[in-house]
Amino acid sequence: MSTAESAAGRPPMEAADWETVQAGPEFQELRHRLRSVVFPITGGFLAWYLVYVLMCSYAPAFMAIKLAGNVNVGLVFGLLQFVSTFGITTWYVRYANRRLDPLAGTLRDELEGDRA
């Protein structure tokens, strides 16, 4: 990635500058807001998916219990995977819009402004 293209006519950032930004409180806050959300959610939905897969493999009798008419636990469990995927997606977009984008935008403006 060439820094030259985006910073035409400005002095390019040195490695030390990037490390200063990286260590700064604003960036650390942004990093924390991202990681403290995406890592636990990823762990959570992978665990939830694995529970589903393991239940299908090793507890078919439980999955076959009928709940309403011909709709059984397995079908509801599978559809809940769809619901959780849609739900996480919607929640994350709201979170990113409120908590990530404004801070990232501020940092970006500061950094690109610096080099003006």
Partner: protein, 554 residues
């Protein structure tokens, strides 16, 4: 994926009853002419640089890209294959849909936005950001070309089967001609339209596919008074002795202890492979910002999720309305479930539309794969490894990419003709397993782990690739499955030999954890140290979007 259990070899019989090949070809021809006209139109505005050819100058909106992603991702296997698997194996067919959908959360949360901010055209860009350019680009390109080639070959060979099914062309030379035409149209899309044209083909196809499946879904549900339980009950009633088992997991995978573990291995590759597929990754570069990349994935998740809900209804609907015996007798067996259902609902015309959509699906997917593979070769191998980043003028790299696209297209045509009728559907599973093993660990380490270095990247890519291919070669999908008394053939690719020692069809359970481990060990044991300044730059850029390539299209 699911075509694994259907076997294209069965497709040599006559076409689907009630099918009107002339009508099918006519509708498909209309699709090709319409899309080619659009491709020519949108490419007139192009400025013909590398950015335009590879990523349409990053000029797509999140919505457009999300639709294109679903067009890229929903292959014929996920339409015909999953509907057929649900019709014949019931619940176990649905398990694929769940894995294919949940996988997108990894792309949403961990990959799409950060990748958009740190690369321009290829997966190699992200790795090369803070590592030694030439070795990691060569490794990334090797893995990209391998995954794309396996996927491409499976699609092209599948086209041969679809020809027999839908156009009633049964002779091998006749099918070869159709495969060559499909390949030639695909090359035309890529050469004329680049990523811009290819994306529009995928967008049009996605709209047709999802709308077509949606109409059929509402139709089927309408026949049962919008009562899902009644539909399921009818599928059970038509399922004969094994009918009740259709509603429960385990009909296909619950037979033995090994098949259960094999299923878990498959589930892992499905959920972790998607975010490592190079043609999916490349689509994140076609939007101007990380926010638009996020929006792309959101659109893709909703469209893909809704589509898989449709296939659930279509699969059980085919079981209830057409019946498993009819489906098994038809050419293509499981693959014919959706076309037979279309015929039962809307007669020859609906069958023709669905047949044409299935063809359009293959075209759009192979075009996406070809442009990804050609970008990886031209940008990573030619421009950065061979020419060491000193390409004379911007046009030279695009010229190489175009030549590569033609070569890949010709190889795909020849490979598709040779593989036609062979049982090579496992190649798609292999592509997912390689993507999950070689690509995903490397991308995640690269974006999130400060210490990750060149040795770690090389160990995880080459190690993951090598282990996955090795385990597949010595697995029962290649040799050694017992002969099926119904067909007199072994379901393995090779007949009459047995050199298998790995018990599972799907290598993911072993290869994915090992690849993560190799990436860790390579980093810790390798002599080179990570460049902290470069990592600082990469992390700040990836999270804030500072200096990211903006859209060039206005």
């Amino acid at each position: 994926m699911t075509a694994q259990h259907t076997g294209t070899a069965l497709l040599a019989a006559a076409g689907v009853e009630g099918s009107n090949p002339v009508l099918n070809i006519g509708i498909f021809g209309g699709f090709v002419i319409l899309t080619l006209a659009i491709v020519v139109r949108v490419s007139r505005r192009a400025n013909r640089g590398a950015a335009d050819f590879y990523t349409a100058g990053g000029g797509f909106s999140g919505q457009q890209n999300g639709i294109a992603i679903s067009g890229d991702y929903l292959s014929a296997a996920s339409f015909l294959g999953i509907a057929g698997a649900i019709a014949l194996n019931g619940y176990d067919g649905f398990l694929y849909s769940v894995g294919f959908l949940v996988a997108w959360l990894i792309a949403l949360l961990l990959v799409a936005e950060l990748l958009r901010n740190t690369g321009r055209y290829t997966m190699g860009d992200v790795l090369a950001f803070r590592m030694r350019q030439r070795p990691v680009r060569a490794a990334a390109a090797t893995s990209t070309l391998t995954v794309s080639f396996f996927y491409l070959l499976a699609q092209m060979a599948g086209a041969g089967g679809l020809v027999a099914l839908l156009l009633d062309i049964t002779s091998k030379p006749g099918q070869a001609v159709v495969i060559a035409i499909v390949g030639a149209v695909m090359i035309a899309y890529v050469l004329i339209g680049g990523m811009r044209g290819t994306s529009w083909v995928q967008i049009i196809k996605a709209v047709l596919l999802i709308a077509g499946a949606g109409v059929m879904t509402v139709w089927v549900l309408g026949l049962y008074g919008f009562n899902l339980s009644a539909l399921l009950g009818d599928a059970v009633a038509h399922g004969g002795k094994a009918g009740e088992a259709l509603l429960n997991p385990g009909k296909q995978y619950g037979k033995t202890g090994v098949s259960r573990i094999d299923f878990i291995s498959l589930a892992l590759a499905l959920v972790l492979g998607t975010a490592g597929l190079p043609h999916v990754l490349m689509r994140f570069y076609t939007v101007p910002t990380a926010k638009e990349a996020r929006s792309s994935v959101v659109w893709a998740i909703w469209l893909i999720g809704i589509f898989y809900l449709f296939t659930l209804v279509l699969g059980y609907g085919a079981g209830a309305i057409v019946g498993p015996d009819e489906i098994k007798k038809a050419p293509g067996a499981a693959n014919s479930a959706a076309p037979l259902l279309a015929y039962a609902l809307g007669g020859t015309v609906l069958l023709g539309i669905i047949a044409a959509v299935a063809f359009a699906t293959i075209l759009a997917v192979v075009a996406g794969l070809t442009i990804t593979a050609s970008a990886s070769f031209a940008h990573d191998i030619y421009a950065n490894v061979i020419k060491r980043g000193k390409v004379d003028g911007k046009d030279e790299e695009v010229k190489v990419a175009r030549i590569t696209a033609v070569v890949i297209g010709i190889v795909a045509i020849l490979g598709g003709i040779l593989a036609n009728g062979q049982n090579i559907a496992f190649l798609v599973a292999l592509a997912f397993a390689v993507a999950a093993s070689a690509n995903l660990p490397t991308i995640l380490y690269s974006l999130f782990w400060r210490r990750f270095n060149t040795s770690g990247a090389l160990w995880s890519i080459y190690g993951g690739l090598g282990i996955t291919v090795l385990l597949i070669v010595f697995s029962p999908v290649v040799s050694g499955k017992p002969i099926d008394p119904a067909t007199g053939r072994s379901p393995s690719m090779l007949q009459g030999v047995d050199f298998s020692w790995f018990p599972l069809d799907n290598p993911g359970l072993v290869s994915i954890p090992l690849s993560f481990l190799l990436g860790y060990l390579g980093t810790v044991l390798g002599k080179d140290r990570a460049d902290q300044g470069k990592y600082a730059e990469m992390e700040v850029r990836s999270l804030t979007g500072v200096g990211a390539e903006r859209s060039t299209a206005h």
